[in-house]
Amino acid sequence: MMSDTPLPYIESKILRVSLTENKTTTEPIPDDLYRNYLGGRGLGVKILYDTLSPKVDALSPENLLIFAIGPLTAMPVPTAGRLEVITKSPLTGTIFDSNVGGYIGAQLRRAGYAAIIFEGSSPTPVYLWINDEQVEIRDASKVWGKDVYETTDMLLGETDPKAQVACIGPGGENKVKLAAIMTDKHRAAGRGGVGAVMGSKNLKAVVVKGTGSVGVDDKDRLTEAVKRARHLIKKNAVTDKSLPIYGTSVLVNVTNEFGMLPTHNFQEGTFNDAVGVSGEKLLERLLVGRYNCFGCPIGCGRISRVGDQEVGGPEYETIWAFGPQCGINDLEWITLANHECNLLGLDTISVGSTIGCVMELYQRGKIDASMKFGSTEGLIDLIRDIGHARGLGAELGEGSRAFAEKNGAPELAMHAKGLEIPAYDPRGAQGHALGYATSNRGGCHLRSYLIGPEILGSPVRVDRDNPRGKADLVILYQNLSAAMDSMILCRFTNFAWTVDDYAEFLAAGTGLPVNGRDILEIGERIYNLERMFNNREGLSAKDDQLPPRFFSPLPEGNSRGRVVHLNEMLAEYYSLRGWDKEGQPSKDRIKRLKIDA
């Protein structure tokens, strides 16, 4: 049913924060912006596209930093508490969004805001304190230089213990291009250097307490949809067993078995000590508790004990980054490295991948610094140096692409568009490889998680080594992901739910009359607008590429002899996308998608 009253989400406002002028204003969300782009990622992408001039320095005051929640946020829909951070990335030079769990998204919605747009740069360190309708830009000099845990505790003490904090650590303050924005201490909007953008604005933190209620268009219909959705989560082996019991690190043994657990900077696809760093081993040795984000019945988050500390994580990608990628089999050390990154506010994937790249540079005699695969010696100090932009750490903080290029071996950086490729060797899954290459934010495993069908057989198993038909599936997942990141719901739900379920939530919760195909069209619109942003920045088909290593066969394991068949898939992908050979959306496609550029 379509209600006569304004959509509940529309009642939320956009909060515009001019850091240069130390001023805040509010404005309504334009109705067409909501209907065409929903919220979250879509809303941020549209605002960035319309506002930023091409070639803006991502770390200059001209860049925008947008925090946005979605139309379902804080409704009783499972996982509907996430926050999107949208900006231009200093690491990739592309448009970028990073998605984080925890509880701050729900608080922001309850405070009445759909998005916060940070403009300019403050002359001195500040933080934003939102206490329902009250908004203050406060001095942050006391917490500047503090780590994420200290910052969070101090700001909660200074504001309200029931508030939620999103902050940067030293990494963001020092504009390290691998810096994350952290919520609830150990949840990260990790990738692309979004923390560096926050640091460039002298914005240490956002603290939010929201106590308002959230309207629902059709309460009975939403209740029924939620009941059904929870049942499906309980029925699904991934969401009811694997993720709650082992966390995301259940994937260590899986990808190793498939011969696509990247080892020694992607030189091999199997790690001899995989069992020792697996989710099963984490459960036996270190796990002390689970962590559920707002409204999440899955609870994939881990709380681990190392020595006398209880720390967040580690996730699968982090175990890979500091483990097999660097040839390290010490699970306790990996957990500590993860915690160090959380304190500093760093992206564990890019930090670990970059260290692995450095190890290979050393292995091949390209650099003098002694960095051996398998050795943890000095690495915690190196991570600290990355966070504080000191010495070699300052160079690594520019990312693996810059470091490998500088040392004469660009082919040894395992990245796409400058973003380090995560924990799945693309030679083992053709569709996933195409997803890496065509992701608008670079080497990302979440834009089109074809590991689902290609490896886990969800919803059905497709031949992971066959490039045929993969373009179609990648596009489906990319469009759906864009829509999900705009509602906003967690990616893991689509092990249990289908496109139609997301549409039902949106229709029941907000009154927006949509079905599954409408959702996918909204996602397609967002994906194309991101692409247009990147094209405007000078990116084209030449950037939809993967490192040369992935066109040479894996030497061993269950993906032995396989290479990525990228060009074959790319041609089909562009054709289905309605993009020309340069990877630019056609006028017809832009018109069909009603992109008002």
């Binding site: 498939f258 992971r464 038909g469 599936l473 599954g516």
Partner: protein, 273 residues
């Protein structure tokens, strides 16, 4: 694709046959069967009365397994078990054939064993489980013909507890053997809508699976891409790939594996996916 979600659901026997099944699980699968309008729930005899009560005002049938899972009970015990199940409310019985007798070529015993259950079942439908993983093709064909002669309504591939699950190959063989007038039920290892559709395309008209909800729910993905149903490598669906020396008689295992050596698709026989 012409198949609707509702039509797919109506091919499914929503199955729970594990030893650890609690009554709450029976309640759950009956509720799910009503929600999705599955063809039947397929359960062990101890749960029949409870399920029949839960489903009494619906068109979801109660299907009970007999002589399960080995088929090694005497004919008298199978007949009694059938009568008892039907009295408790079963509309269908899935009996396991006397596999040993079939392998011994003691066809009279096999036939009479089935006839005893058919007779005891009254108006209830009888499905005969051949346990294909213990048989070579000629034995499967003979099992189908004996089931038809004995008056059974369906032949069924597997128990789900034996050495192999259902394969499109076996379903096709069974359909070709029994013709159009008898039902063919595929059971064992059917976990996704792609598996389900392959079985239906091969000639099955009923599917036994414990993944009924996931199959029907996930089938909603099908309309968004044709790539889900892209053809798999032939070995993926071949019974020879499931052959297992630890679970099968030696000669049956060897029979399956020898087929690999003369298979035109042998180059695709790579066990890493």
């Amino acid at each position: 694709m012409d198949l609707t979600v509702e039509a797919l659901a109506k091919t499914i026997d929503h199955t729970v046959l594990k030893a650890d099944t609690k009554q709450s699980k029976i309640l759950q699968i009956c509720e799910e069967a009503l929600t999705y309008n599955f063809a039947a729930v397929c359960i062990n005899p101890v749960h029949v009365a409870y399920a029949a009560e839960l489903l009494k005002d619906s068109d979801v049938k109660v299907c009970c397994v007999i002589g399960f899972p080995l088929g090694a009970n005497t004919s008298e015990v199978k007949a009694f078990e059938t009568k008892d199940a039907v009295r408790a409310g079963a509309h269908e019985v899935d009996m396991v054939v006397n596999v040993g007798a079939l392998r011994d070529e003691n066809y009279e015993l096999v036939r009479s064993d089935i006839e005893g259950v058919v007779s005891a079942s009254g108006d209830a439908h009888t499905k005969v489980i051949l346990e294909t993983g213990l048989l070579i093709d000629d034995q499967k064909r003979k099992g189908c013909l004996l089931s038809k002669e004995a008056g059974a309504d369906f032949v069924k591939t597997s128990t789900g507890f034996g050495p192999m699950g259902a394969t499109p190959y076996d379903v096709r063989l069974m359909r070709e053997t029994v013709g159009k007038d008898m039902g063919v039920k595929a059971a064992g290892g059917i976990r996704s809508f792609k598996d389900a559709i392959k079985m239906l395309d091969a000639g099955a008209d009923r599917l036994g699976t414990s993944a009924g909800v996931a199959i029907v729910e996930d089938f909603r993905w099908a309309k968004y891409s044709d790539s889900w149903m892209q053809e798999d490598r032939p070995c993926w669906d071949c019974p020879s790939r499931q052959a297992n020396l630890a679970k099968q008689p030696k000669e049956v295992y060897v029979w399956y594996k020898e087929r690999c050596t003369i298979c035109p698709d042998r180059s695709g026989n790579v066990f890493n996916d």
